[in-house]
């Protein structure tokens, strides 16, 4: 009652109990990793290693290809055996570096610097950049870009996104329970880099123990507030989180920095702490392997480049007939066509839906104009109109219904009683017209 939130949204069953009780464990070291050189939004990296070259753990293997880009590091020590195009989770071919793990786990250089809070904002920002940190909630936007706002954008608050509103996923939840201090440290570093006095950690209230843990960890830290938020999808969308915590609305087509805010995910905050303190690059992340179709749901620390097939095996394999394997959550994740794809910096979960829970033939009916999607849309759009206009090919007209404000959270398609593929129709329309 009375918890902060936004208007609209939906309440899908959260299914978090499947994996919520499993502590984070380090996954088996992969024998081979396929590390894509483009795991982030922005320019792909240029490979700076060659076939046959020995690399160490944490060694840079791909240089950023522009300002909006992020370096890529080796997640194992061993030998580069191939460089070439491999499919990523979305099925696109991406230039990747294949490294055979020699099992020695030799690091490049990892130095503990307990004095990291005395570094200057510039030095800290440089560490975040060098560590190749990107948004780990799924979008994988290079973090350093968010931390370098233009001068005219005055930032006054940093938000840590602990909403984890996607059903099934528990990676951020486990981090908040097990690494609460480190997450708070990450937030402090962010505040220092951006020179702001206020930091907030927003957590959906279906994780009361995480709220308690984070409150405990943040006790006595000046300017940091931990807030329980209403449980409602998509509470973890940047704009919705900012609205819930600060009451500010990011205008259409604008960025959080336009309302003075930078939002970072829980996992990203931890990575920032580890980069600042140990100089550790982003070579591993917590991945929730879960769903009714997996034998033993787990929260694993996984090296970037590990094959999804390896994770499935480590979690006891499939339970029952396998239907869908999804990279990410059920609302916005991608259904994989092959298990031979890599975990990347943005992979928050691997979700297995058993065959009998998937409808094979997704037939859909006409829009009956019931308005459920309009009520569900967190962006205040009319998904019903967008879907009908797109279906009929009236893409230009769809723009008048604010087509490009849709961030494809899927709430509309979730509530649609006619089972219309509204999100897909929106994507189609977006691809047919210029913004």
């Amino acid at each position: 009652m009375g918890l902060a939130t936004f208007k609209g949204g939906i309440h899908p069953p959260d299914k978090k109990t499947l994996a919520a009780g499993s502590s984070i464990v380090v996954s088996n070291p992969p024998k081979i990793v396929v590390i894509p050189l483009s795991q982030h939004i922005g320019a792909p990296c240029k490979p700076i290693v060659s076939i046959g070259q020995e690399v160490r753990k944490g060694e840079i293997i791909g240089e950023p290809g522009g300002f909006v880009s992020s370096p890529v590091h080796s997640s194992v020590s061993g030998k580069v055996v191939a460089i070439g195009e491999f499919p990523n989770a979305m099925g696109r071919m991406v230039n990747s570096v294949v490294i055979e793990n020699d099992g020695k786990e030799e690091w490049t250089s990892l130095k503990d610097n307990p004095d990291y809070m005395n570094l200057s904002p510039e030095e800290l920002r440089e560490k975040v950049k060098a560590a190749g940190i990107v948004g780990m909630g799924g979008a994988a936007f290079p973090t350093v870009v968010k931390l370098s706002p233009p001068k005219e954008k005055a930032i006054d608050a940093v938000l840590i996104n602990g909403a984890e509103c996607e059903p099934y996923l528990t990676a951020d939840y486990r981090l908040m329970i097990e690494k609460s201090k480190e997450v708070v440290e990450g937030l402090k570093i962010l505040m220092k880099i951006l020179g702001v006095q206020k930091g907030y950690i927003g957590i959906e209230n279906n994780k009361p123990d995480a709220v308690a843990k984070m409150k405990e960890a943040a006790a006595g830290e000046a300017g940091i507030e931990v807030l329980a938020l209403e449980v409602k999808y998509p509470q973890g969308a940047e704009k919705m989180l900012i609205k819930a915590i600060l009451g500010r609305e990011v205008p259409p087509r604008a960025l959080p920095m336009d309302v003075g805010v930078v939002v970072q995910n829980v996992g990203t905050a931890l990575a920032i702490y580890e980069a600042a303190r140990f100089g550790k690059p982003l070579i591993e992340r917590v991945v929730t392997v879960t769903g009714e179709g997996i034998a033993e749901p787990k929260n694993l620390i996984v090296r970037i480049g590990t094959k999804v097939a390896d994770l499935i095996e480590e979690c006891g394999g499939f339970k029952g007939g396998v239907g869908k394997v999804i990279s990410g959550g059920p609302m916005m994740g991608f259904a994989l066509s092959s298990l031979d794809v890599s975990v990347t910096k943005g992979t928050s979960g691997i979700l297995v839906i058993p065959e009998d829970s998937v409808s094979h033939v997704e037939e859909f009916g006409p829009c009956i104009r019931c308005g459920r999607c309009i009520d569900a849309c967190a962006m205040g759009l009319m998904p019903s109109m967008l879907s009908v206009l797109s279906e009929k090919g009236h893409y230009e007209e769809a723009k008048e219904y604010n087509l490009f404000d849709c961030f494809e959270c899927g709430s509309c398609a979730y509530v649609c009683p006619s089972k219309r593929p509204i999100v897909q129709l929106v994507r189609l329309a977006k691809s047919m017209v210029k913004p």
Binding site: G371, V415, P421
Partner: protein, 346 residues
């Protein structure tokens, strides 16, 4: 088979990968269920004839829809329940006296069903594309084509099997023709009038008689989230205010809003006809405008028009405006300063 499964034949489809188990057909059947109390009240008061008429409309609607699908070679969607619902609503909007073989009027519900399902719905593109409420067009067609047969109102009878009954005027008919004094005279006193209207013990269409039975169904829909308050409340609220202000004889503010709310087709219209998804606005704010329009037009016809009852025409007229209302109000885009960002997009 097992071996190929081991090769991971993965199902790939677009996000979201989870969906609500709510379906269009479940909505249609739920609305039909919500109409049951009112339909049963109709059968209770008007006897077996009411059941025959309602069943005839349902069967005709389903058969005509099935025939249409077969004729145009489309996959049958009769199972979605929308033809059943249209037939049920149509039947509930007809007088029980239509079940008469001399003069023969049994064809009226059949033809009205054809007009509702085939002409009003399917020829406009099928479910989701019809401009007008199919059941109401069916009824309007019947009323205009067979004005006499459609306005023979039987007295509520206790004889369940009786195939005819004394005819009488509806409460609204009396109110229109002879005024409120006569109406009170017929029913005894005010309390007795209210009770007759609430329980349904009065002349009228089969399904519109019992205000309480309709309200039970309406509240069920509200509770289950199948409708929201916007249309019924704005519809009934507007009608009540107008009835109170202008409904009296002579002086303003002397009308009786309660009589107007619970007589005629007001309750059935506000809860079940105006709330039809397809033919009403889908933006909540637009639904309020729509409801106000329905209430206003209903009372305009009742107080100033030639017909004693105006619900049907009011809703049909507002049906025309539903798409325009949706276009006009739109929903407020998150973060937008102005309500309509269409111009900025160009």
């Amino acid at each position: 088979m097992e071996a190929t499964k081991k090769e991971h034949q993965l199902i790939v489809s677009v996000s979201p990968h989870v969906k609500t188990d709510e379906t269009t057909s479940r909505i249609m059947w739920s609305v039909s269920l919500a109409l049951l109390p009112a339909a049963l009240a109709g059968v209770y008061f008007f006897g077996l004839r009411a059941l025959f008429i309602t069943a005839l409309c349902i069967v005709s609607s389903a058969v005509f829809e099935q025939l249409y699908f077969r004729m145009v070679g489309k996959k049958s969607a009769v199972g979605d329940g929308s033809a059943f619902l249209t037939g049920l609503l149509l039947g509930m909007n007809m007088p029980a006296s239509l079940w008469s073989f001399s003069p023969f009027t049994v064809h009226v519900p059949v033809i009205a069903s054809f007009v509702a399902v085939v002409i009003t719905k399917q020829l406009f593109g099928g479910l989701g594309f019809n401009v007008f409420n199919p059941a109401l067009i069916g009824r309007a067609f019947a009323l205009i084509s067979w004005p006499k047969a459609m306005t023979i109102w039987s007295e509520p009878t206790a004889a369940f099997l009786a195939m005819d009954a004394k005819t009488t005027a509806t409460p609204l008919g009396i109110l229109k023709e002879e005024g409120v004094v006569k109406l009170l005279e017929v029913f005894g006193d005010k309390m007795s009038l209210y009770m007759h209207l609430l329980t349904g013990n009065r002349a009228g269409s089969i399904g519109e008689t019992s205000a309480i039975a309709i309200l039970i169904g309406g509240l069920f829909l509200l509770y289950r989230g199948y409708i929201t308050w916007h249309i019924p409340v704005s519809f009934l609220g507007t009608a009540a205010v107008i009835a109170w202000v202008f409904g009296g004889k002579g002086a303003l503010f002397t009308g009786d809003p309660i009589v107007h709310l619970i007589s005629g087709g007001m309750m059935l219209g506000a809860w079940f006809m105006a709330t039809d998804y397809v033919t009403s606005p889908s933006v909540r704010k637009g639904q309020i405008i729509f409801g106000i329009g329905c209430g206003f037009l209903t009372m305009l016809i009742r107080l100033k028009g030639g017909y004693p009852e105006g619900v049907m025409f009011a809703i049909l007229i507002m049906n025309c405006f539903a798409p325009i209302i949706d276009r006009g109000v739109k929903s407020k885009v998150f973060g937008a300063v102005k309500q309509n960002t269409a111009k900025e997009n160009k």
